[in-house]
Symmetry: C2
Subunit: 461 residues, 2 copies
């Protein structure tokens, strides 16, 4: 009775899978403020050519450089676990599997793309990367990757997290990165905010503005910007997760797969696991593929498919995506990585094409699932990951009711050892659920009503 299916270093994928090559409806382009498509060359001040090429590539398979594979091989292929303990606790006939991305040195899936991004920047002579981080998962992953490729790393961390989660900052500094609270006095964007609100707690949008500004205004032109989710090249780098999982399910003797689940904030860990299976679905396989979001930030289940900006102030192009409107301020739930108003264009397009069935779950049910998982499987997952766990439990219970031996796969995107406060609140009974009202949504959508509309609109939702 295998509990863990491992692969050898030789099984680490040699190519990333690009879903853009297979989408039924071609991906709509990002648009500039003038409503015209953004050309690749307009991205050059921000990203290196290697990544811009991937961002717009129509190729199905893209080679993974050996230098990137060598670093990923420090923890990849990651194990696939059979959740015997959870199955027993639920008394389900379903067979539940999870891909364990918590074993990377930064504790999540984020290093999969951080390593690739650091590599391409290093290769093109970039000396320094700037980025933003909310709760700190992405900032620490990029700090880790920059240490290994000997690039400087500057992280603008949302002030409220900077103050509340000092450990993430220490991780980044241990890896040699510089981490400052945002809004900071180091950029015009930050100074403008501080001038009007000296005690601003910051948010991801402000931090993005600062990080982009720090890259484009570097007088020595040695800095580029890096993003941890949303963009096509970021999702591309994560597909090693699903490609490995396919081999592992085969090794486990599974002939079919019924349900694929991942939590989705910007969409990268979900896409990483799911896209190689979306390929199968496009080509006739029958399965449900579920991105799971918080009920308090229901981008995919309540938001419309629109063009919206990726930050709050328009430093980014307009992206074709499900969005709650860039002015939306999510409740301060513990799953900080899922508090984002939009959703990756590739994930959004797949939803719009009817390939994915998004689901929203409240944080109380998520933490209940995470505690059951910890006690039956032994792993304490990140608050973000608890959404995937809770959805897998829902599906396993459904299989029990239906008396079906379903095969369920979810992504264990990260561990929760630096986010234990959420568990403390849940166990103490002080945690609350939040839901988004139609009124608040309508108010936020008002701000984007004059933006260009994605055409043709798919028949999806």
């Amino acid at each position: 009775m295998k509990t863990r299916i491992v692969l050898s270093e030789d099984d680490l994928p040699r190519q990333w899978y690009n879903l853009a090559a297979d989408l039924p409806t071609p991906l709509r382009p990002p648009l500039g403020p003038d409503g015209k498509p953004v050309s690749p060359s307009m991205l050059e001040p921000i990203f290196p050519h290697g990544l811009i090429e991937q961002e717009v590539s129509p190729k199905r398979w893209i080679d993974i450089p050996e230098e990137v594979r060598a670093v990923l091989a420090r923890w990849r292929p990651s194990p696939l676990h059979r959740a015997h303990g959870l199955e027993k606790a639920l008394g389900t006939p379903a067979r539940i599997y999870y891909k364990n991305e918590s074993l990377s040195p930064a504790g999540s899936h984020k290093p999969n793309t951080a390593v690739a991004q650091a590599y391409y920047n290093k290769k093109e002579g970039v000396k320094r990367l700037s980025t933003e981080t909310g709760a700190g998962q992405w900032g620490s992953a990029l700090a880790f990757a920059c240490a290994l490729f000997e690039i400087e790393c500057k992280v603008f961390m949302v002030r409220i997290s900077f103050d509340q989660k000092p450990y993430r900052k220490i991780m980044m500094e241990t890896w040699g990165a510089e981490c400052v609270a945002s809004p900071s006095g180091e950029t015009k964007a930050g100074r403008d905010i501080l001038a009007s609100d000296p005690g601003s707690p910051g948010n991801l949008a402000i931090a993005i503005s600062e990080a982009v500004e720090a890259a484009v205004t570097d007088p020595q032109h040695r800095t580029k910007y890096a993003l941890g989710s949303v963009l096509n090249h970021v999702l591309l780098h994560q597909t090693v997760i699903g490609l490995e999982a396919k081999k592992q399910l085969k090794k486990a003797g599974e002939k079919r797969l019924d349900v694929v689940i991942g939590c989705a904030g910007g969409g990268s860990n979900f896409a990483g696991l799911a896209f190689p299976f979306v390929y199968d679905k496009i080509h006739g396989a029958k399965m449900e593929i579920i991105p799971v979001e918080p009920a308090s930030c229901p981008t995919m289940t309540m938001g419309p498919f629109v063009y919206d900006i990726g930050d709050a102030s328009g430093m980014t192009p307009l992206l074709p995506m499900y969005s709650l409107g860039h002015t939306f301020m999510p409740e301060p739930i513990h799953a900080g990585g899922l508090r984002y108003h939009g959703m990756a264009p590739l994930v959004s397009a797949a939803i719009n094409d009817g390939l994915l069935k998004p689901r929203a779950i409240g944080q109380l049910e998520c933490f209940a699932g995470a505690v059951l998982f910890a006690r039956s499987e032994g792993i304490i997952v990140a608050p973000e990951t608890s959404h995937a766990v809770a959805c897998a439990i829902q599906e396993a219970k459904k299989a029990k009711e239906e008396g079906k031996e379903k095969v369920i796969l979810f992504n264990l995107s990260g561990h929760g050892l630096l986010d234990l406060k959420g568990y403390q609140d849940y166990l103490a009974g002080t945690l609350q659920d939040h839901a988004l009202s139609r009124e608040v949504l309508a108010k936020n959508l008002e701000a984007i009503k004059d933006y260009p509309k994605p055409e043709p609109v798919g028949a999806g939702k």
Copy 2:
């Protein structure tokens, strides 16, 4: 160029290795307060038969129950890493390997024995385990194991750590354990301390007294006690580490091994890696085997080989070991797991037989090594583990000076994600070194001068 050598589930050892079968000088028995050897039956109120049998077993190989292997297989065999990044940073001709025990769900090697102990207790009908924990590594590992075997778990956590490290307590509670600050009002031992010192910060000795008392005084006779290091059966359970490492070095193509290194507080992670190699050394292999301790708690390098009690108040038998005296109060270094006055009898005997060469290193050098390791290898190690890292660096530099292609192996016993304060202090330049003075040592040894002496005393040191 392999960076990670993995084994399949089938390679998980089927037997533990018991060094007691091979020591040149037979292990001296523990003694009661009357100076007479403690018989196995005297341990029955505290431990289940399965563990007592292992504690006194003369057998070289002891079968690992399949039920224990099935749980260990959730993260074992653990990977062996080649430290290419560290080697490059040091410019050393040495080949450095490390066994990565940080990937267990509790983040250290401790679950290797926690799982075995939970299994034997469960098998004999024990409903509840009580234990003590200092910084929390052991308490969380036992909580994890008890969750999987559905046994209750009660942890007495040293008050000062309980207050300073709330996250460890949350981990234990997430796994369903109960964790109270020690001294507590729940035991006579705790109440006595509180009566004389209501604000007592506690220490490991008091917590041991409380945990043992909670087991032996349980009116329903359903509670036993569990210990995370020092004892023979605990070290036995850790030998899966070294047995796996042997297979992995062979798989990596290494024909010999020159240096084996592990940090040592009670001795269990060191023993786990080293004892299978001590076997080789006893049988003629030439290598240096180095247990590393803090300069501020130099049990092996400054303490004499004596009989001393394992706690502070004599709840435990007298054990034959290197000791600084049970009244010794180590400085509050960040490596909380290495702050212990004694050393495991098996490790002590091997030192006394000249098989091991202990070394003491100050915490500044340890953290410098850990930061270099994080930036070159990507992994942030526990403060305890930093002692092994620093020693490996010393040996790699020596190999460089000598121009020798030495093969060095050390145990990465745990990650430091719940102990980042030490890194913060180091990076801020506020960390201090501490050394033990001969005067303080002499004063502490005064308290045990009338204890029985180990006879015959080996020629070791």
